[in-house]
């Protein structure tokens, strides 16, 4: 692997690690409302006060006056690491109340400010990232699985199987999927829990997305099946399944990997778009999309810049994935030539 690829993979690992341990890294429960701190700006970390420099950073308490929130210099809250606060399930299994950062007493450490309900934006970006990125990965897995299977079938068998499957792929590619999803949402029952919405969302995004990888896979399989080593294996009496698994799958492996890096950011963005339009995960569960949806209000957009944090997170994640896709693509080309 080249150095650039290694660096990008490392960055991706860091992003996913942070999101995976969101409960631990986030100081607060993402749904916890603090009704006296709506739209509070990001906490400023201080090292120096009247008595001089402190190694341990601290934040001041906030007080609301006519111009919004200002720092109350009489209330000092030092920041601690490894503190006990709200309960959560680490990785979804281990119930604990340890958090990486926190302040004691009545102080609030809001690294990225708060939203209109006084919920900590930083905690929500992390927890929302879990939903959005997981949606991207699961949907990509769905799309690649279906795409790979149908693409292999079409490329390997050719004839009417090929024609009908690729016809269907073309139909799916031409579908205005956003409107399609709007329509699908209308048929769902009212009572959909966030978990089920998430599952449905990823399935629908994934199932709609199978067409493009299927076409790519089909092309490779169609050319691979007439290669000499494949024909030889067939001559020795290998079954179709054996051929596909042993000789053809390794050919498409690289394509699937590049496709994954292309599709994951695209599907993260798809989840964000749907939740932004109110079709995705609902309150109080955070996702980058539904967090951004408050910015549809003009007054919020122009007044509270820190609420753009989920958009920044989305951009960073997408850029890392896209750069990685580029690297993988050029490496593949290099290998094949």
């Amino acid at each position: 692997m080249r150095f650039k690829t290694k660096l990008l993979v490392a960055a991706l690992v860091v992003v996913h690690f942070v999101l995976l341990f969101a409960g631990f890294i986030a100081p607060y429960d993402p749904a916890e409302q603090n009704r006296v701190l709506p739209y509070a700006p990001p906490s400023r970390l201080h090292f120096r006060d009247a008595s001089g420099f402190h190694l341990r950073p601290f934040v001041y308490g906030l007080k609301l006056d006519l111009d919004g929130f200002t720092e109350d210099k009489n209330q000092v809250f030092p920041i601690h690491i490894f503190v006990r606060a709200s309960r959560y399930k680490l990785l979804g299994f281990f119930e604990t109340n340890w958090h990486l950062l926190g302040v004691s007493g009545s102080g609030r450490l809001v690294l990225l400010g708060t939203d209109g309900f006084g919920r900590d934006e930083f905690s929500r970006v992390l927890h929302g990232g879990q939903i959005s990125v997981a949606a991207g990965i699961v949907a990509t897995f769905d799309a690649l699985l279906v795409g790979m299977m149908l693409g292999m079938l079409a490329g390997y068998y050719g004839g009417w199987v090929d024609e009908s499957l690729m016809g269907a792929a073309e139909l799916f590619l031409s579908l205005p999927w956003l409107y399609f999803l709007l329509g699908v949402r209308a048929f769902l029952p009212l009572h959909v829990s966030p978990a089920r919405t998430f599952l449905l969302l990823t399935c629908v995004i994934g199932l709609i997305g199978w067409a493009r990888p299927a076409r790519l896979v089909r092309g490779i399989v169609a050319s691979a099946r007439s290669r000499n080593h494949v024909l030889a294996a067939r001559g020795f009496g290998a079954s179709d399944f054996y051929l596909l698994r042993r000789h053809i799958f390794p050919e498409i492996y690289g394509v699937l990997l590049t496709q994954a890096t292309v599709l994951i950011p695209r599907y993260i963005a798809a989840e964000v778009a749907l939740s932004f339009l109110g079709l995705g995960v609902n309150e109080p569960v955070a996702s980058w999309g539904n967090m951004l949806s408050t910015l549809q209000q003009y007054s919020v957009l122009v007044s509270y810049a820190w609420l753009l944090a989920p958009a920044c997170a989305l951009v960073v994640t997408s850029v890392i994935y896209s750069l990685l896709a580029d690297c993988l693509h050029s490496q593949l080309k290099f290998q094949s030539s």
Partner: protein, 589 residues
């Protein structure tokens, strides 16, 4: 040939002279005009207003949407109108009225010598014609319900050219208030389409300006589809200012179609529009912060008459295939369950977080904005989860180990709340409510729906558990509220289509509401309506949440800007609005 040309010229000249005599800027002696003794301003100029949508029609009889009514209202006038500032009735096209001692007959004296905006004189025939149209079942006017008392229409008789008499089937409290909102129609223009059965098609948006005439301060000039409606000054308008100068001051009124409230605010900030009303508190605060640059006139008029509430579906669902909802209805029908929900709601948080403190918490249907009718003895308990838990416990609910609320049969309490997705304020209320109720162990799902889909569920399919909605805001009087509180009312949301009152308290409300409608004495009516309000707040068919303040803003150059709580907030005195520093025009002051 030459003779004919000369004759024609003479006729033209004569007509022009007649016109000049008919519509001078200073009124003639034959016209009985209304003199606004405390109004002064400058003539000329125009104002631009951004609207959230395009009007659907220019026909005052069939218009139902707010935008159409706002535009049409500037071109039309009523017999008696409600002064938006004082909330009292005042003479309009009728210069005076007398009520017979039995409270059933109203005799109205019309202003003499006044004209429609096309120059045609107005008299009792137009009034009789107008009411005939409003009460015609085939026309299906939304105002028709107001004119039917006890299933019988009121009768209108022309006594002489300028006197009409209205006879009601029985005494009707504050009957003169119903005239506000009933625009007088020009018989000479609308009789033909009415008799041909084409009334609903008359005065569509595509109507020529010459076909549309009214008695309001402005008349139609131009409609550009998708862009704007332009109204121009009505030279025959029947009000004059302090100096006997004929109103309105403005030459033109332009309604731009801009789409959303945010677009309204952006256009206003950019100086493209001059007036904006019904602002959200966030946008109002935004304009306040920018006041140093824009110098805009901002008005916070205090609590509106609108009430936002949570309603549980208590409809009879036996004829529908909604077993799951019907199952949950045993909670919704339990008074203690509703009381617990009400006790858990943090209304002050709603006022603070949803309305940015520009609003008021509500515990009843008549809020602090309605000074004349609000029952101030209704208690305002602070939110208390302990009270709520006790109420639930006494109603047989319990909690499992993970804190989830279970009913007597062990079923987990879980329901959904539908909200209009376009209403960000109600969406926010719902999120706060969800959090409040989660502390009681109730699992609440929020379902944002497109407004029409929501209305369909609440009024037609009845397929919902609970909804957050808003009502009220029309008039301060209790009578327009009849359709909500009467058990057979069309907006009796929690249980629509009752053939008879489902509960004893609903029966009592029915009686009280009917009683107040025929009681003419204010103090007695107030007593009756107070009792209605306490019954409602005790039995909680709606869990009242909060009401926003009425917020409006105007360009610093707009003179006589006196917005009011009642609709149309900024435009009710449009005839008095003027542009400061506008060029004075010949004939004007």
């Amino acid at each position: 040939m030459k003779l004919i040309t000369n004759l024609a010229l003479l006729v033209c000249l004569h007509a022009a002279l007649c016109f000049a005599v008919i519509a001078p800027e200073t009124p003639s002696a034959g016209e009985e005009l209304d003199r606004a003794a405390d109004v002064s301003g400058h003539s000329g100029g125009h104002l631009t207003i951004g609207e959230r949508a395009e009007p659907k029609t220019l026909n005052p009889v069939i218009a139902t949407d707010a935008v159409s009514r706002e535009v049409i209202g500037r071109m039309m006038a009523d017999l008696v109108e409600i002064n938006r500032a004082t909330q009292q009735t005042q003479p309009a096209l009728a210069k005076s009225w007398k009520i017979a001692p039995d409270g059933r007959a109203f005799t109205l004296q019309l202003r003499k010598g006044i004209r429609f905006s096309d120059g045609h004189p107005f008299d009792a025939d137009d009034v009789v014609f107008s009411f005939k149209v409003y009460m015609d079942e085939n026309v299906d006017s939304p105002q028709r319900d107001l004119l039917i008392v006890d299933g019988k229409p009121l009768t209108v008789t022309k006594l002489d050219q300028y006197t009409v008499q209205f006879t009601l089937p029985r005494p009707y409290a504050a009957a003169e208030r119903i005239f506000d909102g009933l625009a007088m129609l020009p018989k000479h223009l609308l009789e033909k389409p009415y008799h041909e059965g084409k009334f609903a098609q008359a005065w569509s948006l595509n109507a020529a300006a010459s076909e549309v005439a009214g008695l309001g301060p402005f008349r139609l000039k131009q409609y550009v589809p998708g862009q704007r409606v332009v109204l121009e000054r009505n030279p025959y308008y029947w009000r004059v200012d302090r100096d006997n100068h004929r109103l309105p001051y403005l030459d033109e009124l332009v309604f731009l179609f801009v789409g959303t409230e945010d677009a309204q605010v952006m256009r206003f900030e950019a100086g493209e529009t001059n007036l904006v009303s019904r602002l959200s508190s966030e946008n109002y605060n935004l304009l306040t912060r920018e006041r140093a640059r824009t110098n805009a006139q901002l008005a916070d008029l205090g609590p509106s008459l609108e009430y936002n509430f949570l309603v549980f579906n208590q409809n009879d669902l036996s004829s529908k295939k909604l077993d799951a909802t019907a199952q949950r209805q045993k909670w919704f029908r339990a008074l203690k369950f509703r009381q617990a929900v009400s006790a858990a709601v943090d209304r002050d948080a709603i006022v603070r977080l949803v309305y940015g403190t520009r609003g008021s918490a509500l515990w009843g249907n008549v809020g602090p904005g309605n000074k004349l009718w609000s029952n101030t003895s209704i208690p305002h308990p602070s939110p208390s989860l302990d009270t709520a838990r006790q109420l639930l416990k006494s109603a047989g609910f319990s909690w499992n180990q993970s804190g989830q609320l279970l009913d007597a049969s062990g079923q987990q309490v879980e329901f959904s709340i539908v909200i209009s997705s376009s209403n960000t304020q109600r969406m926010k209320m719902a999120t706060l409510l969800q959090d409040d109720l989660s502390h009681l162990g109730m699992q609440v799902h929020l379902v944002p729906l497109e407004f029409r889909a929501l209305i369909d569920r609440v009024f037609q399919s009845l397929d919902y558990d609970a909804a957050i909605m808003g009502l009220g805001g029309g008039d301060a009087d209790p009578n327009p509220e009849m359709n909500v509180w009467m058990s057979n009312g069309t907006s009796h949301l929690w249980n629509l289509g009752e053939t008879q009152p489902a509960t004893a308290w609903e029966r009592e409300i029915d009686q009280l509401m009917q009683q107040q409608m025929i009681t003419l004495d204010y103090a007695k009516r107030k007593q009756l309506y107070d009792r209605v309000q306490s019954l409602i707040s005790e039995n909680l068919p709606f869990i009242f949440l909060a009401t926003p303040n009425v917020l409006a803003a105007a360009d610093p150059r707009v003179g006589n800007f006196h917005p009011a709580t009642l609709d149309p907030c900024t435009l009710w005195n449009v005839d008095e609005l003027y542009v400061r520093g506008s060029v004075e025009i010949a004939g004007a002051r």
